[in-house]
């Protein structure tokens, strides 16, 4: 089990699938000769050649459309959206074309394409290069969406995504690319889509999180003596594993969602609404969403760190929840912003 950085794990997953399946192709802006702006496809051009690994012009609508056509006709394209924001110039192909392709073909065509997109704050890229935007994708039946939380999950989810016969968007938190961890490669390293990972056991509260917030949630969970938290990495956001989450929360009686997204209508909103209603009368406390404020992502190290949930803040929010049985005010209420 080698240790590698998350960007290397992505490249490893792509390479391992490409070696097994000659129909897998990779394209995007600067993914070939340069090995990817975040080095997530390093070495692929050298190994698989320019027919299967390609640099595209700057034209996300064009090359995602191309992915749809390639997927429908026998390839398994993996297209890179360098920053999730750029999907704003190409969303149509994912949500209105790819997601409905199988449906619109009466089940005859499939559209096995993967869109990889880096997401999130933490690297000082400012408000047009730091968002997560899961909400663009979570109301489009036919689409799947997963999010990596580290090297192993990046590897394992990517391999499943490529094999899946449906269009899958895989989000990769940019701030995690440089982080190292052990990675099991091969079949055992594959993580099925649609399943959670229970990363930590605990009894008082279930923390559901994903992506870059996993380590924050884990740090908070480990540091607290006041309560014992189970931590769940949701892994697949669409379709999410409702049964697993509901039964976990039923056991602890409390659900806290830790999420890197503005408060209003982040991905955790659905988890909160669903579980809150399903377990009505069974919960010991209201569902708590610990998120970012409803503001554009600020630039500047201090502000960016403040913007995202961190260990202390998560701990404090859960402390308050446990103590009062009410949803605590988020930190920004004191700063003149509404929840």
């Amino acid at each position: 089990m080698a240790r590698m950085r998350m960007n290397q794990a992505v490249a490893a997953a792509l390479g391992d699938e490409m070696r097994q399946d000659p129909t897998v192709v990779v394209f995007g802006e600067d993914v070939a000769a340069a090995g990817g702006p975040f080095k997530t496809s390093d070495g692929l051009l050298e190994e698989f050649g320019p027919l299967r690994v390609r640099d595209t012009p700057i034209s996300e609508m064009g090359f995602l459309g191309m992915a749809v056509g390639a997927a429908a006709s026998g390839l398994r394209p993996v297209a890179e959206i360098m920053f999730i924001e750029f999907l704003g110039v190409a969303l149509d192909q994912v949500v209105t074309e790819a997601a409905k392709f199988h449906f619109l073909s009466n089940g005859v065509f499939t559209c096995p394409m993967v869109v990889r997109a880096s997401v999130g704050a933490g690297l000082g890229f400012g408000c047009q290069h730091s968002q997560t935007f899961e909400n663009w994708l979570n109301n489009a039946p036919g689409l799947k969406m997963a999010v990596a939380s580290g090297p192993q999950s990046a590897y394992g989810l990517m391999r499943s995504a490529i094999r899946d016969p449906n269009p899958v968007v895989v989000l990769e938190p940019r701030a995690l690319y440089g982080g190292r961890g052990p990675v099991t490669r091969g079949e055992e390293g594959i993580i099925p889509l649609g399943e959670i990972a229970r990363v930590r056991e605990g009894d008082d509260v279930t923390i559901v999180t994903a992506g870059a917030m996993l380590r924050v949630a884990m740090a908070a969970a480990k540091s607290s003596d006041n309560w014992s938290a189970e931590v769940i990495d949701l892994q697949t956001l669409i379709p999410w594993d409702r049964d697993a989450v509901v039964s976990a929360v039923r056991r602890t009686g409390r659900l806290v969602i830790v999420e890197e997204s503005p408060y209003t209508s982040g991905w955790g909103t659905e988890i909160s609404a669903y579980v809150g209603s399903r377990l009505f009368g069974e919960l010991k406390a209201p569902v708590l969403r610990v998120t970012c404020p409803d503001v554009p992502v600020p630039f500047g190290r201090e502000l960016e760190l403040r913007y995202m949930p961190n260990k202390e803040y998560v701990t404090d929010q859960i402390d308050q929840l446990m103590a009062t049985g009410r949803v605590p005010e988020p930190w920004w209420v004191g700063e003149g912003s509404r929840v």
Binding site: S59, F63, L64, G65, V68, G69, S73, P77, L104, T110
Partner: protein
């Protein structure tokens, strides 16, 4: 004609100009009938018919192989029929019947036939253009000599996906033919009101590929142009932009009476009606005998009527259809 399979229908066009003529007549009759259906109010939703543009669809279908991929728009009945789809499978879709090509769950804008190479048609302007390039990418990567054909309108040449799709195809020399059906209108706007140049073929300059104007009213011309462009594609020389000058006889969609058209415009185009002109040519060449054309008309009308009866008598899509094919099984 009789009850040929869709593959027989498709292959019939390859060598036989009379078959092309018949198919054009069929498309015209089918579209007229569909327009009537909507006028009667028996069908829900909207429809976009393609009378006047028959020579484009037939020109493509006559030379493309079934293993080639075609992307097409919501104005797709004519293309579907040309490619070989049966009137029943299209009409069934339009009327929401189980026998429709998508089980009747999608309506007139969405047709599909994998065996004939037709991807689900696109209701979003421009969307099918880069998708066609994607199918061409498959052929290039797999090393087959199949090609793709992306069909779209004049109005679509103003949208970003057109630019990006052609640029990508050009830089990678993909085996794809872009067919712009310039029917002079995008919805209710004449092309000159939205597009600052006369000949859309000129846009090929931006991509360093051939841009060729084609008489879209002449099936011999469309066949020739598509054939040459496909040869180019298959031999690795990259994409071609074909601008087929044609005319949309009907309004844009169901409710549109096309009152915005300048006086005399329709009449001028109708003088070069693709069906009439082609019939005259085939007659003068002796390929259509005296009276044969009328007989074709009658047979086609009967065939469409029979299809209509079959579809009308068939069951509508059930509620269960709503839940099928959302996700392909892993």
């Amino acid at each position: 004609m009789g009850d040929r399979t869709k593959m027989e229908r498709r292959l019939a066009l390859a060598a036989d100009r009379v078959a092309r003529y018949e198919r054009m007549v069929e498309i015209r009759a089918f579209e007229d009938r569909v327009q009537g259906l909507f006028a009667e109010g028996v069908v829900h939703g909207t429809t976009h018919t393609a009378q006047g543009q028959e020579a484009v669809a037939v020109g493509i279908a006559a030379v493309a192989r079934p293993t080639d991929t075609v992307t097409c728009t919501y104005r797709g009945h004519g293309m579907g029929l040309a490619l070989g789809m049966t009137p029943e499978s299209i009409l069934g879709e339009i009327m929401g019947r189980e026998m429709g090509c998508i089980g009747g769950i999608a309506g007139s804008m969405h047709l599909v036939d994998k065996e004939l190479g037709l991807l689900p048609t696109f209701a979003i302007i421009g969307a099918g253009i880069p998708v066609a390039a994607g199918a061409a990418l498959t052929a290039q990567v797999k090393g087959t000599d199949d090609a793709a054909i992306g069909v779209f309108g004049d109005g679509a040449s103003n949208i970003g996906a057109f630019h990006e799709g052609l640029n990508l195809a050009a830089i990678w020399k993909l085996p794809v033919v872009f067919v712009c059906e310039n029917n002079q209108y995008g919805e209710y706007s004449r092309i000159n009101l939205t597009t600052p140049i006369e000949d859309l073929a000129d846009r090929a300059v931006s991509y360093g590929i051939p841009g060729i104007m084609v008489d879209g009213q002449d099936p011999d011309a469309t066949v020739k142009a598509v054939s040459e462009a496909l040869d180019r594609a298959r031999s690795g020389e990259g994409p071609t932009l074909l601008e087929m000058k044609t005319y949309r006889y009907a309004g844009h969609s169901r409710a549109d009476k096309a009152e915005y058209r300048p006086e005399g415009e329709f009449e001028r185009w109708f003088q070069r009606d693709p069906i009439n002109t082609f019939r005259a040519r085939l007659e003068s060449e002796g390929l259509l005998a005296e009276g044969q054309a009328d007989e074709v008309d009658r047979q086609v009308a009967a065939r469409i009527e029979a299809a209509m009866e079959t579809v009308k008598a068939s069951p509508p899509a059930g509620v269960d259809a709503m839940f099928r094919n959302i996700y392909a099984p892993v």
